[in-house]
């Protein structure tokens, strides 16, 4: 599509389409193209390099590293079906391979067979899991899990929650209650991990925004990156909310997780 020739209006249009088709959104896309136009570059290569640098400066990424000598808690949240439960399996395994001890908590007591699903992952890794029956109060599982994690002296407790749409107030209240329990117990380093689906459009920003308002989001994992969507929703979230992306989910197997890499991510936008 792009070969070594000079930039004209048509090229700018094509570049804008590359940005828009990546789910970057009209706001950021038009801002970048306007900047590009004013830059007065004369080749497509230079234009792409310019855009890559601009995008590079927008993205927030960060490594998630466990703190020593304290219980680390990751509360996993997000809307329905994005890959929370599967990602917990991957995340647990990721830390197990680093020699850490992990405990899981099945606090999705609503969805059919949610506890069974997470229990399978726990069994695969032979790690303990705190759970109760369907319909139990998720807050009580969080309560028990934190106590259990502390008494067991595990490095990391990962808590699975039910998928919930951010526009459902009673579900966001339920999540807030679960978070308050962790906060109240104290003595731990807690990260709220928002899971978003790479194929999601502009609503992903609203998801991040509301979850962040309700319980605060410390880090984000983007799943289904292997569906070949470009995941451009990363930019709006980074720019307006300053929440770092920490992991990418790229498949359904336990090893299909990688640390979020800014360069690789931007490269793929322009492939």
């Amino acid at each position: 599509l792009f070969t070594g020739k000079s930039l004209d209006d048509n090229d700018l249009l094509k570049l804008e389409e590359v940005l828009l088709s990546s789910d970057i959104g009209p706001q950021i896309s038009s801002t970048l193209i306007t900047k590009l136009r004013l830059k007065g570059l004369n080749t497509i290569e230079n234009a792409i390099e310019f855009l890559k640098k601009e995008l590079h400066d927008i993205i927030c990424d960060k490594e998630y590293i466990l703190k020593d000598g304290v219980l680390n808690i990751v509360l996993v949240l997000g809307v329905n079906g994005v890959g929370k439960t599967t990602s917990i399996g991957k995340l647990a395994n990721f830390h197990l391979k680093k020699g850490k001890t992990v405990l899981l908590a099945a606090a999705d007591t609503f969805r059919a067979a949610a506890t069974e699903q997470l229990t399978r992952w726990a069994k695969v890794m032979d790690i303990p899991i705190v759970k109760q029956g369907e319909g139990a109060d998720p807050a009580s599982i969080v309560y028990d899990a934190v106590d259990s994690a502390k008494s067991k002296g595990v490095d990391l407790l990962i808590i699975d929650t039910a998928g919930r749409l951010q526009n459902k107030k009673h579900l966001m209240d339920e999540l807030k209650k679960m978070y308050k329990i962790i906060e109240t117990k104290g003595g731990c380093d807690t990260h709220n991990l928002l899971v978003i689906d790479a194929t999601t459009g502009q609503n992903a920003f609203h998801q991040a925004h509301v979850f962040n308002e309700v319980v605060g989001v410390n880090m984000i994992m983007m799943t289904k990156y292997d569906a070949l969507s470009k995941g451009g929703i990363v930019f709006n979230i980074s720019k307006k909310l300053n929440i770092p992306f920490t992991f990418i989910g790229k498949g359904e197997k336990i090893e299909d997780i990688e640390v979020f890499n800014r360069e690789k991510f931007i490269e793929r936008i322009f492939n």
């Binding site: 009209p26 890959g83 459009g201 502009q202």
Partner: protein
Amino acid sequence: GITKAISDSFKVLTGNARITETNIGNAINDIRTALIEADVNMVVVKDFINEITAKAIGEQVVRAVNPKDQFIKIVNDGIVDILGSKSEALKLKPKGTLTVILLAGLQGAGKTTTAGKLARYIKNSDNRKVLLSACDVYRPAAIEQLQRVGELAGVDVFVGDKKDAIKISKESYKHAKSGNYDVLIIDTAGRLHVDKDMMMEVKKISKDLRPDDILFVCDSMMGQHAVEIAKEFNDTLEVTGVILTKFDSDTRGGAAFSIKKVINKPIKFIGVSEKIDGLEVFYPERIASRILG
């Protein structure tokens, strides 16, 4: 939303008697931005804008209506037309003859939950004996999930004993026939449109069972790639309809518009909650007003 965009663009044009290229220039740009913000696919937006521009300029403004309202109506009608003029029902055979419905789609789209909702809907609205078939042999506890969903829907669930989706689908078909079921609903594993093996698997199930309805189950909050994904499923399976899930979210739902425009298959139902009764027949006006915002 788009309605506001049009209103703002036309604010300066009070008293204008007809829509011209000049006075809709700004409105067009704003509509384009609003549609993309609503997740309508870029290529679909281009075509749509061309269509409504041509229509708008060609129109004499109706005496009772001002250009702004006229233009909003043109955009709204344009969206409704593409979405489909009325809801299209399931292709149910006469009772006593087995109807087969196959569900397919991306991971996490809502297939298993929708299978249960559909089963309950058919059972209650048409007093039919429905059997669910658990053909997801990959996802941990997928079978348990469908069994629980079947309980909530009040229908039987067929569970095979081998880890072979194609074999299980055929066994469930035999079981449906011998058990005198009216409808067999096949729940399949989530799969990527770019996973050749998995797309071949669902294609084989479809070839073997020759379903009466092949429904593409899709998350309504999908972004620009919705078209590419829907196209691939449609090319592989020749779907007979689409079910859009999670419409109870506050997503604008532009994917619905994009998918319909590109593969032109009817949107039969929308998912409106996680509960077993959270399934509604599709009405284009509702979706159009959401996209318009």
